[in-house]
Symmetry: C2
Subunit: 336 residues, 2 copies
DNA sequence: TTGAAAGCGCTAACAG
DNA sequence: CTGTTAGCGCTTTCAA
């Protein structure tokens, strides 16, 4: 059964509370005899340091908050691992919160972390969150926006060069001789989607004779991919694209599955490139070529940036980090 | 920029700290005039309630901790959603921690949540964690073990009847006329794996003429499934099983993919049943039959149980909840 | 090395 | 309705 705090320990060990604190934190040397007595008291009392008291006194916590829109997307999990690893090195802990893409949940976790006085937050959001982060920042809690470049210079962010990613995908397909490319993705209100399309578009523009068709989809799931591919199969062969660039891997996987099931050969008749390089990409029926953001680096970079701005709020460092993705070539686009 | 606490607000609004506290918590009515002044002060000062002070005073927090071994497994995420939904109804928040299957991380989050004095924890662990939970419990923090039935009567747990799940899968395959079943999974040190096998085994034992082969695998991933299926394809047709029961869906998906790619017809030549019914199961090349635990209920039941034992530590309630899974039939086992 | 004591921000009991 | 006040458990000067 739980018992008193540091005071009870002090009494049981017949020392002062200050000494117990020093023993606990190594703030100042404690004699061997007293150390032993203190430890014995801790064990027999089942003492656990109360973080509320500690944090109240210290004025700050050593926890950072990470808000992800969709914990079930492997992409965000990989990021979280990078964040955690680096946090651990810095002696910090990470609390995860799952906003499920819902902005009211996002808000309530933002508020919760603020009340907990976390050292800072890392926020991956699908929506318009900068104003909220600005408010939080003005009250003293720093944050790093993850996944999209911040528009305000005061808001640190870590993101991926999606236009470059789109360009890499398109250039690769064009380089393999494809001339009728379909871009599958949406909605274009998302900057990530828009930028990937723009990059692909630029590459196509520079290649005479190559066309780019846009297939807008509301969701980026495997089933959405099935639907798109079903429609593609119904077209006469001449009007079908000979290459597909899907805005994420789930879509791409759905497309590949349905095309193959429908008798089309991938990549001979239709080559496919996805985006994110999630674990399932490598293990799809036809291993999927994919644009790969440097997921591990993103997470640790976000934490480093957060620490940097937390130390010196008037940040002289460059606070808008953009990482370059690279293309991972697999059979879905190179196996012919 | 952040500023003082409740006292600064009181001064700015020209009221007492008690009144501010009452305003904040609705503990006692506050006149309209003062309410307005207080709110104005809060806004202009950017005041945010300090949880450390609050919690120190209250003596307990309204947060619960959830430790998952693998946030990227959709199964645990679905559980987490159930937990969160119910927590929200009860006015509680949930902090997620990702142990990545590593028991030292598990330990450090356990300790962290304990220092934070969470109302309780929900712990999904792959390993031997009961002794640790017992220690934590003896110091005053209640917990619910998720995914495996606790062996101690004092440790509340929420789990799935895996033996029943195994039985359902096997009976279904036998009922469809299959006689040579392969159980693919491992390691048998995991109780979940062992129980699923036992259930299947019992069903086979009751069906004369039916055989059950065990294919032990160290991992339960898509690639492990690929490896198993590759080996299966190399066997002469007569020595191949006519049905496969895979201990989870990732394995099953890998197996289906490789078999189909190898020219075998699923389910005509080999029928397949998986376990967990993750989202990808429904969207596999051949939609996968799968044993489905009641994921939504599991999460909310765990939270309810936690609250129940937190209220009355000498629990008269039944603290070992076991849920029955059901079989979801899809084409991989019924499409012939 | 050790002890004594102040005070972090907040809530709730009590008195008005 | 509102103000005063006593701690919640901890760290950290400051002296000894």
């Amino acid at each position: 059964v739980a018992s008193g705090g540091i005071r009870a320990v002090a009494e049981a060990a017949d020392v002062s509370v200050g000494t117990v604190s020093h023993y606990l934190n190594g703030t100042s040397p404690v004699s061997a005899a007293k150390s032993a007595r203190i430890q014995a008291a801790i064990d027999s009392l089942g003492f656990v340091r109360n973080n509320a008291g500690r944090q109240l006194r210290l004025g700050r916590s050593s926890t950072i908050g990470y808000i992800a829109p969709d914990v079930s997307n492997p992409f965000f999990t990989t990021l979280a691992e990078g964040v955690e690893r680096r946090a651990r090195d810095a002696g910090l802990s990470v609390f995860l919160a799952n906003s499920m893409g819902d902005s009211s949940r996002e808000d309530s976790y933002l508020a919760l972390f603020e009340e907990y006085r976390v050292r800072g937050m890392i926020v991956a959001s699908a929506g318009e969150i900068e104003p909220r982060l600005a408010a939080v920042r003005s009250r003293g809690t720093p944050s790093v926006l993850m996944g999209q470049p911040a528009s305000s210079p005061d808001q640190p962010s870590v993101s991926v060069d999606d236009a470059l990613g789109g360009r890499l995908a398109a250039e690769h397909l064009i380089g393999r001789g494809r001339g009728r490319i379909a871009f599958v993705g949406g909605p274009l209100t998302r900057s990530q989607v828009r930028n990937r399309l723009e990059g692909a578009s630029a590459a196509v523009r520079e290649s005479p004779g190559v066309t780019l068709e846009v297939v807008d989809v509301p969701e980026r799931t495997i089933s959405a991919g099935h639907a798109v591919a079903t429609a593609l199969l119904e077209r006469p062969a001449a009007r079908r694209p000979d290459a597909v660039f899907a805005v994420n891997d789930l879509l791409a996987i759905g497309i590949v599955q349905t095309l193959v099931a429908g008798g089309l050969r991938v990549p001979q008749e239709v080559a496919i490139v996805g985006y994110d390089d999630i674990e399932y990409a490598e293990n799809a029926i036809v291993p999927l070529s994919s644009v790969r953001p440097p997921q591990e680096s993103l997470g640790s970079a976000a934490l480093d940036l957060l620490l940097a701005v937390a130390e010196r709020p008037a940040a002289p460092v460059d606070t808008h980090l953009v990482f370059a993705p690279r293309l991972v070539e697999r059979r879905s686009s190179t196996g012919d």
